[in-house]
């Protein structure tokens, strides 16, 4: 949804969204040791801003394709918080009735097919969704989020090729956090220029490398305008940083593939923190209070929720 109020109103909305994501993720990390969440979690801490900035420029009938690190996108798209936490808890009140779990969040009412845990597999589906939007003349676009690791996969090149060929209404967002699990780009790519790769397929592109929310907002808007005007697909690279370990609730500085020194500029320029500093202090406190209450309620509801009946295992194998 595009905020139509004044700038500070927009920042309040964005702050609230990023804060919701941050605090939910932090709470997941806190309770994870209790084994309430019996499945892997890929937390969005540090990567809130790309999802929030892109979704700020999307319309209600646009579609989004995410990844297994999809909590930020689900919430940025205004997915139901209670349904997300219930899903993590494996309860029937979850957005997949417990069958999906953290890696496969989604909700048809927000135009988000349940995400995939296999790197890059969402991208071919995104071109299909965009193809359908164009075919049906829906005047809508598809935003597909992938990581830098996914760009190694042939499916991403194949998808860009087809999207460029058919001028599909597709926005590709590469959340470049420099690593595929623990493998840095330097060990995977001889020439890591994503915008250049896109250009090879007639896909327009731009990069936002400064981790600045305003840059992300304005570049996302321009990219979405490009796609929506029928000029063809667009690849938007957004540099970001994963604060926690690849999977799980903890920090992994001890592994040594990254250092806290590398990370410190990302912590200092945290878009959430900087956004908070741009709104009035009393408004910020009010929003923090509101978000904390919503999160407490969501976890409380999840705790009290019901596991699906064992007979439900047999449901929905076939439509």
């Amino acid at each position: 949804m595009s905020p139509t109020s004044s700038n500070s109103g927009q920042y309040e909305t964005l702050f609230e969204q990023m804060l919701t994501i941050r605090l939910v993720e932090e709470k997941v990390a806190v309770i994870y040791h209790t084994d309430a969440v019996k499945s892997p979690v890929h937390l969005s801490i540090g990567q809130e801003a790309p999802s929030v900035a892109v979704c700020a420029a999307l319309e209600k009938n646009d579609m989004v394709i995410g990844t297994y690190r999809g909590h930020a996108l689900y919430l940025a798209r205004e997915g139901d918080l209670d349904a997300m936490v219930a899903e993590l808890y494996g309860k029937s009140e979850g957005c997949g009735r417990g069958k999906a779990g953290s890696m496969h969040l989604g909700d048809k009412s927000i135009g988000m097919p349940h995400t995939s845990a296999i790197v890059a597999t969402g991208m071919p589906n995104a071109i299909g969704v965009a193809f359908a939007q164009k075919f049906k003349k829906e005047n809508a676009i598809t935003a597909c989020f992938i990581g830098d690791g996914a760009v190694d996969e042939g499916a991403v090149s194949e998808s860009m090729n087809f999207a460029g060929l058919k001028k599909l209404p597709l926005l590709i967002i590469v959340e470049n956090n420099q690593f595929a699990i623990h493998s840095p780009i330097s060990t995977r790519m001889p020439r890591p220029n994503f915008v250049e790769r896109a250009a090879a397929f007639n896909v327009a592109g731009a990069s936002v490398m400064d981790n600045d929310l305003d840059s992300m907002l304005s570049t996302s808007q321009a990219a979405i305008d490009h796609v929506r005007s029928g000029q063809g697909p667009f690849l938007l690279e957004i540099a970001t940083y994963r604060w926690k370990e690849h999977v799980g609730p903890g920090d992994d500085w001890a592994l040594g593939y990254r250092t806290k020194e590398d990370a410190s500029p990302w912590f200092e320029n945290d878009p959430l923190k900087l956004c908070g500093e741009r709104i009035a202090a009393d408004r910020r406190l009010a929003l923090e209070s509101k978000v904390k209450e919503q999160i407490t309620r969501a976890f409380d509801r999840a705790e009290k929720g019901t596991f699906p009946d064992p007979a439900e295992m047999w449901d929905n194998v076939y439509a």
Binding site: M63, G96, R97, K99, A100, H104, G106, D107, K108, P113, H114, S116, I118, T121, M123, P124, N125, A126, I127, G128, V129, A130, F131, A132, Q133, F135, K136, G154, A155, E158, S159, N161, F162, L165, D315, N316, V317, Y318, A319
Partner: protein
């Protein structure tokens, strides 16, 4: 009922597609070479002219991604038909077919579905060899969320294909290339053949002879050969592999007390194993004598003399049945071979 309207298997698939594309604007056909002059055995021959390039289009050589395209379009309520000239090429599509298409409906607790058809041609002929003749139906039948059908007759080809298009699940539709020219009765009106129902093609009392796709043709020939030594075979065409109708097989076996399953695929972990296991489950105390046949457990060779050795044929099927029913006879019966015109006629290249 007079059976006067004769169409070939290929024409039947063309007609099924045409009728559904006319009826439902969300149906589209795509894949390598669907709009080329050959139109894949004529099955897609003029859709691009009739319906335009949005509804019938060629694709880059990107089989996995193009499968994903179909999945995505299906998520949006369209009904894609993805055509592959060979089932061997589906191996490039496994990620999207098994990790994505088969999973969406379940993982989303029913919110999303993938009403997509994947057509693939299988089968021997003219030295297709190791990578151009594989029949991998059991790999797909193994996966919950996928449906797999392999009709043999033109009637079933049209009816199963319309059913596949209207089915809201991903359907793997398997066509044996030696069947494309076979003619049979095909009604002009639109009709469906439901999945999960086997056909008793010929009744008999002495043995239940189950087969799939082109092996049904061989089994019918074997039945003729067996008649000459007084063995009356009941021939069952499975048609649908997932869901699979083993109740019909079991009912037949209760009459004949002998079961031979001829798979159009490798024996090991094949459809024949599934049929026999399911029949055993349905008949735990009176399981019949049984045998199974399939491709030799080797890579398919190209040279004709070895290609002939690789595949069951009507003679080897008839001999197997005879040995099962008359254990003492060993290899002593050599039936007169039956002419396999569809095999002799096919000179490729497709």
């Amino acid at each position: 009922m007079p059976e006067t309207r004769q169409l070939s298997y290929g024409e039947a698939i063309y007609e099924a597609t045409l009728q559904e594309m006319e009826r439902d604007p969300s149906v589209f056909v795509y894949g390598l070479g669907v709009d080329d002059p050959k139109g894949h055995y004529g099955t897609t021959k003029d859709f691009h002219e009739r319906f335009g390039p949005d509804r019938c289009f060629d694709t880059p050589l990107s089989e996995d991604t193009m499968t994903g395209l179909g999945v995505g379009a299906a998520l949006m309520g369209m009904r894609p038909i993805h055509v592959h000239q060979r089932m061997d090429f589906l191996l490039l599509c496994m990620n999207q077919l098994i990790n994505m298409a088969a999973k969406y409906h379940y993982v989303s607790a029913g919110q999303w579905s993938v009403p997509m058809v994947v057509r693939a041609s299988i089968g021997r002929s003219w030295g297709q060899g190791p990578q151009h003749s594989q029949a991998l139906q059991s790999m797909f039948a193994h996966v919950p969320g996928l449906k797999v059908v392999a009709p043999t007759t033109p009637y079933d080809a049209k009816g199963c294909f319309i059913e596949a298009i209207r089915d809201n699940n991903p359907v793997i539709f398997i066509e044996h290339r030696l069947l494309y020219a076979n003619k049979g009765h095909v009604p002009e009106e639109s009709y469906t053949v439901p999945f999960g129902k086997a056909r008793v093609l010929k009744e008999g009392d002495d043995v239940t002879l189950v087969a799939t796709t082109h092996m049904v043709v061989e089994a019918l020939r074997a039945r003729e050969q067996l008649k000459t030594i007084g063995i009356d075979a009941e021939v069952i065409d499975l048609v649908s592999l997932s869901p699979i109708d083993t109740e019909t097989v079991s009912k037949s076996v209760n009459k004949t007390d002998a079961l031979v399953v001829v798979d159009n695929g490798w024996e090991n972990c094949g459809i024949s194993a599934e049929v026999i296991a399911k029949v055993a489950e349905l008949n735990p105390t009176n399981f019949p004598k049984f045998a199974r046949m399939g491709f030799a457990p080797v890579t398919c060779p190209t040279t004709k003399v070895l290609e002939n050795e690789f595949y069951p044929n009507s003679t080897s099927i008839a001999q197997k049945v005879n040995r099962l029913l008359n254990e003492d006879q060993g290899n002593s019966w050599n039936p007169v071979p039956m002419k396999a015109t569809e095999i002799e006629a096919f000179k490729g290249p497709f």
